[in-house]
C-alpha cells in the first residue's frame, strides 16, 4: 500500500482532567481507504482520544493533530466537522420526529427565502441513499425506521457532507446479526470510496471482518499496533490487559457465611435469560460485563425496579416476592444505581433528607417524622463515613461526586440493609473518594453484609471481589472462582474475563 494517504495523524496526544491523566503521548493515524480499529478496556482512553480529535474538549490538549498533512489546532466540534471529520455515535444524533429527507438537510435546507425546495430535499436524499444501496423511504419519519436504518441514514448523511473520516463508536451494540452484516457491507463500500474509518468496538471478533489495522490503548497510553491479518483475538486481549495491581483494591476479606441472596433462572425476554447466582454474607460478588450485557437490568429486576418473566429470588434461604423496590428494601436489599444523579439522589433535598430517604417509615409515628432521630441518623453517618459537607442542611446537588455517592451509601446503611448492590460505584469519583468507598465496602463485609459490585472496570471487580461472574448479551457466561482469583496472575484473569465478556464461553 505504497500510495495510501494519511487522512488524520495524531502525535503525542496528552489530555488531563483535574486529578487524572486520561491520555499520555498517544500516537495514532489512519489512511484513506482503510479501517483502523481502536480498542482497549473501559477507561483505556478511547473516547477521550476520539473526543480530543473531534474538538469536544476545544484546544485544551497537548500534542499535534494533522489532517491531510496539514497541522491543525483543533478548536471546537464545528472545526472538526468543517475539516471533514465525522463521528457516528451509539445513540444516533438526529431529530427523530423529522423525515429522513429533512434530517439529511438539517440546518441547510435548500430553497429560496422562506420556501423550501422539498423536491430537491427528497430527490437528493433519495439519490445519495440509493447510490449507497440503502433502501429507505425518505419521506418516513426517522423514528419509524429500525436502529440499523437510522445508522445507515446518518452514515449517508455524513457522506453527503463530504466527510473524509468517519468514526464508528460501538456501532453494532444495538444491532441484530443481520443488520450487523449490512453495516459491514456499508463500511466496505465506504472504504472502497477512499474514506478513512476509525472503528471502536469491544467485540474483538468483529474487527477481523472489517478492519485493516488495530491500535490498542491501555490506561491512557499506546499499547501496540498490529495489522489485522497478522494477529489473533488472544494476542489483542493480551495487549489490552496486564497492568500492575495497585494496593488500592487490597481489602481484607473475612469469613463468608450463609447464602444471603440467591437468584434462580431469572429471565426477562429481550433483556437477560436464565440468570442464576448467589452471594453469601461477608462476601463480595463481582459482576463484570460490557454496557448492554444485561447486568444492570438484572440487578434492577432483583431490586423490583423492573418486572421479570420467570425465575425466583431468595433472601436468606427463603423465596420472596418482589414487585416494587419497597418490597426489596423490606427484605434488606439496597441498590446504588448506576446513575446516582438520575436515580440515586434527590438533588434538591438536603444531605439529612437524603440519608433518611429510605428510613422515614421507621422513624415516623402516626405519619409524623421524629426530627430528633432524623438528625441523629444524618449526623452519625456524616461522621462515620466522613461525608464532607458544610452542614446537614446542605443540598446534595452542591456536593462533589464522591460525597454524593457516600450519601447514597449512607441511605442504605441508615436503613440497615444487609444485601448491598453497587452498580458502577466509582464512576465519576476521584481517586481518594474511591479508596474511601473501597474501605467502606471492606467494613460492610466485615460486619457480615453481602455485597454485589458491578463494574465495567476489570481491575476493580477482580481486585475487590471474592468471586466474579461475567455477563455477555443477557447471558451468564461463567465464573471466576475464589481459587483462581487468589492464585492466578492478574493478566490471565483479565484475559479470561474479557474473553467471556466478548461472548466466548469459559472452558
Amino acid at each position: 500500500m505504497s500510495e495510501s494517504r494519511e487522512v488524520v495523524r495524531l502525535e503525542k496526544i496528552s489530555k488531563s482532567f483535574p486529578g487524572v491523566k486520561a491520555l499520555t503521548d498517544v500516537d495514532f493515524s489512519v489512511n484513506a481507504g482503510s479501517v483502523h480499529a481502536l480498542i482497549g478496556e473501559n477507561g483505556a482512553g478511547k473516547s477521550t482520544l476520539i473526543k480530543t480529535l473531534m474538538g469536544t474538549y476545544g484546544n485544551k490538549y497537548e500534542g499535534r493533530i494533522f489532517v491531510e498533512g496539514q497541522e491543525v489546532k483543533m478548536q471546537n466540534p464545528i472545526m472538526a466537522k468543517e475539516l471533514g471529520l465525522l463521528a457516528i455515535y451509539q445513540d444516533v444524533q438526529m431529530a427523530p420526529h423529522l423525515t429522513v429527507g429533512e434530517n439529511f438537510f438539517l440546518g441547510r435546507l435548500p430553497g429560496s427565502g422562506l420556501a423550501v425546495n422539498w423536491k430537491k430535499v427528497y430527490e437528493d436524499a433519495a439519490k445519495t441513499l440509493g447510490d449507497l444501496g440503502i433502501e429507505v423511504d425518505v419521506r418516513k419519519r426517522l423514528k419509524d425506521l429500525t436502529v440499523a436504518q437510522q445508522e445507515m441514514v446518518s452514515i449517508a448523511k455524513a457522506i453527503s457532507e463530504d466527510a473524509k473520516l468517519i468514526i464508528f463508536d460501538e456501532p453494532t451494540a444495538q444491532l441484530t446479526e443481520k443488520d450487523t452484516a449490512m453495516l459491514f457491507d456499508m463500511i466496505r463500500q465506504l472504504k472502497a470510496r477512499g474514506l478513512a474509518i476509525i472503528y471502536i468496538s469491544h467485540r474483538l471478533e468483529e474487527l477481523f471482518e472489517v478492519c485493516d489495522e488495530v491500535t490498542v490503548l491501555k490506561d491512557g497510553q499506546y499499547a501496540g499496533h498490529k495489522m489485522i491479518a497478522d494477529t489473533t483475538v488472544d494476542e489483542l486481549v493480551a495487549m489490552m490487559v496486564g497492568r500492575e495491581m495497585t494496593d488500592m483494591y487490597d481489602i481484607q476479606h473475612g469469613k463468608t457465611g450463609d447464602v444471603a441472596l440467591e437468584v434462580r433462572n431469572l429471565t426477562k425476554q429481550g433483556q437477560f435469560e436464565d440468570i442464576s447466582f448467589s452471594v453469601r454474607t461477608g462476601e463480595i460478588l463481582g459482576i463484570f460485563g460490557l454496557v448492554g450485557s444485561g447486568r444492570t437490568e438484572t440487578v434492577r429486576t432483583i431490586f423490583g425496579a423492573e418486572p421479570f418473566d420467570s425465575g425466583s429470588v431468595l433472601v436468606d434461604g427463603k423465596e420472596v416476592t418482589i414487585k416494587d423496590p419497597s418490597d426489596a428494601i423490606a427484605c434488606g436489599i439496597g441498590l446504588l444505581p448506576e446513575d446516582r444523579r438520575a436515580q440515586g439522589l434527590c438533588l434538591h433535598m438536603s444531605v439529612k433528607n437524603n440519608i433518611n430517604l429510605a428510613s422515614y417509615r421507621d422513624i415516623s409515628k402516626a405519619g409524623k417524622v421524629n426530627a430528633a432521630i432524623e438528625k441523629q441518623n444524618a449526623e452519625r453517618f456524616k461522621e462515620s463515613i466522613a461525608i464532607k459537607t458544610p452542614s446537614l442542611e446542605q443540598l446534595v446537588r452542591n456536593l462533589s461526586g464522591g460525597n454524593q455517592q457516600k450519601v447514597v451509601i449512607a441511605k442504605w446503611l441508615c436503613k440497615q440493609s444487609h444485601i448491598l448492590i453497587f452498580d458502577e460505584p466509582t464512576v465519576g469519583v476521584d481517586v481518594n473518594a474511591k479508596k474511601e468507598i473501597y474501605k467502606l465496602i471492606e467494613q460492610l463485609i466485615a460486619q457480615g453484609d453481602a455485597v454485589i459490585i458491578i463494574s465495567s472496570y476489570l481491575p476493580e471487580v477482580l481486585g475487590l471481589a471474592n468471586r466474579v461472574v461475567v455477563f455477555s448479551e443477557g447471558k451468564l457466561m461463567g465464573e471466576i472462582s475464589e481459587d483462581e482469583l487468589k492464585n492466578k496472575p492478574s493478566d490471565e484473569l483479565e484475559k479470561k474475563a474479557l474473553m467471556m465478556a466478548s461472548g466466548f464461553k469459559s472452558e
Binding site: D324, P325, P337, L347, H348, M349, Y360, G367, K368, E393
Partner: protein, 312 residues
C-alpha cells in the same frame, strides 16, 4: 450575626415587599386600614388562598392541577342541591360535598400515576368535565337563598376575626404541618426532586401522588363551601379562573413548576401580595384591568428574579 439560608432570605424579602405595599397604601389611601376593608380583604383572600395551599403541595411534586376551579364550582352546586333541593341537613350535605370533591382529586391522581398522563392534560380534562357537570346538573342556573344556618357562617367572627380567615389559617397550618413535619411531606419533596430516586428508595408513588391531588381537591371543596356561604347561593360558574390565581400565588411564594421547591408560608405571602395589590388598585380607583396587568407582571418578575439568583 446569624446567617440565613437562601430560602429564608427570599421569604424575608417577600415579606418586606408585602409590608412596603401595605405601608404605601396606608399612606396614600388611609381607608385601606379600615376594619371593614381589612376584613373584606381577608375574606376574599381566604378563599383563593385556601386553594393556593393545595396547589403548592401539587406543584412541589412537579405537577399542576387545573381542575380546582371547577371543583369549587361543583362544591358550590352540590351545597345548593343537597341543602336546598334535597333539604338535607347542613352537616351531611357538607360531608357528601367534600367526599365527592375528594373523588375528583383521586381521579386526577390515578390518571396521572397509572394512566401516565401529563398532569396538565389530565387536569385540563377534569377541569372541562367538572365545569360541564356543574353547568349540566343546574342547567346553568344558580341555586339561591340557601339556609341561614349555613350562610350565616360566612358573616361569623371567631376571636374577633372573620370566620373564613380562621378556616384559611387552619388549612395553612395543616399544609405547613404536612410539608414540614410528616413522612408524607418528605415523600412529596422527594417525588418532586427525583421521582425515580424516590421510587428506588422505597417510596410508593401512587399514594403520594393521589394524596397531593386529593388534598388540593379538599382545599378546593372547602373554598367552594365558603364561597357559597358568602354569596348565599350555589353557583355553577363559581371558582372560574381560581386555579390560575392559586398557581400565581404559589409561584410568587417561591414554588417551582419543576418541583421540589415551595412552602406553605411562601404561598401565603404570595397570596397576600396579590390580594393587597388588587385591593389597593380598587381603593385608588385604578382600572381593574390595569391591576390584572400588574399581577401578571408580578408573576413574571418574581420568577425572573428567582431564576437569575440561582445562576450566580
Amino acid at each position: 450575626m446569624k446567617r440565613f439560608d437562601r430560602n429564608t432570605l427570599s421569604k424575608i424579602s417577600l415579606v418586606l415587599i408585602l409590608v412596603v405595599i401595605c405601608v404605601a397604601l396606608a399612606i396614600f389611601q388611609p381607608s385601606f386600614l379600615k376594619t371593614t376593608n381589612i376584613f373584606n380583604l381577608l375574606r376574599t383572600t381566604s378563599i383563593t388562598g385556601l386553594i393556593a395551599i393545595g396547589m403548592t403541595v401539587v406543584i412541589i411534586t412537579g405537577g399542576i392541577d387545573l381542575s380546582v376551579g371547577s371543583v369549587v364550582g361543583i362544591s358550590s352546586v352540590l351545597c345548593g342541591i343537597l341543602m336546598k333541593q334535597n333539604g338535607w341537613p347542613v352537616g351531611i350535605s357538607l360531608i357528601v360535598t367534600i367526599v365527592i370533591c375528594l373523588l375528583i382529586g383521586l381521579v386526577n391522581g390515578l390518571l396521572i400515576h397509572y394512566g401516565k398522563l401529563p398532569p396538565f392534560i389530565a387536569t385540563l380534562g377534569t377541569m372541562e368535565m367538572g365545569r360541564g357537570l356543574a353547568m349540566y346538573i343546574t342547567k346553568g342556573r344558580t341555586i339561591p337563598s340557601l339556609p341561614q344556618s349555613f350562610t350565616g357562617f360566612a358573616q361569623l367572627k371567631i376571636l374577633g376575626l372573620p370566620s373564613l380567615f380562621i378556616v384559611w389559617v387552619v388549612v395553612i397550618l395543616l399544609g405547613f404541618y404536612i410539608l414540614r413535619f410528616t413522612r408524607m411531606g418528605r415523600n412529596i419533596y422527594a417525588v418532586g426532586s427525583n421521582m425515580e430516586a424516590a421510587r428506588l428508595s422505597g417510596i410508593k408513588l401512587a399514594p403520594t401522588i393521589c394524596f397531593c391531588y386529593m388534598f388540593n381537591a379538599f382545599c378546593a371543596a372547602i373554598a367552594g363551601i365558603l364561597l357559597t356561604a358568602r354569596i348565599t347561593s350555589g353557583q355553577p360558574s363559581a371558582g372560574e379562573g381560581y386555579e390560575m390565581t392559586a398557581i400565581a400565588a404559589s409561584v410568587i411564594g417561591g414554588a417551582s413548576l419543576a418541583g421540589a421547591e415551595g412552602s406553605a408560608i411562601g404561598t401565603v405571602i404570595g397570596a397576600c401580595i396579590m390580594a393587597v395589590i388588587q385591593n389597593g388598585g380598587n381603593l385608588l380607583g385604578i382600572n381593574s384591568f390595569i391591576m390584572d396587568i400588574a399581577t401578571g407582571a408580578l408573576v413574571v418578575i418574581a420568577v425572573l428574579i428567582e431564576k437569575n439568583k440561582k445562576r450566580t
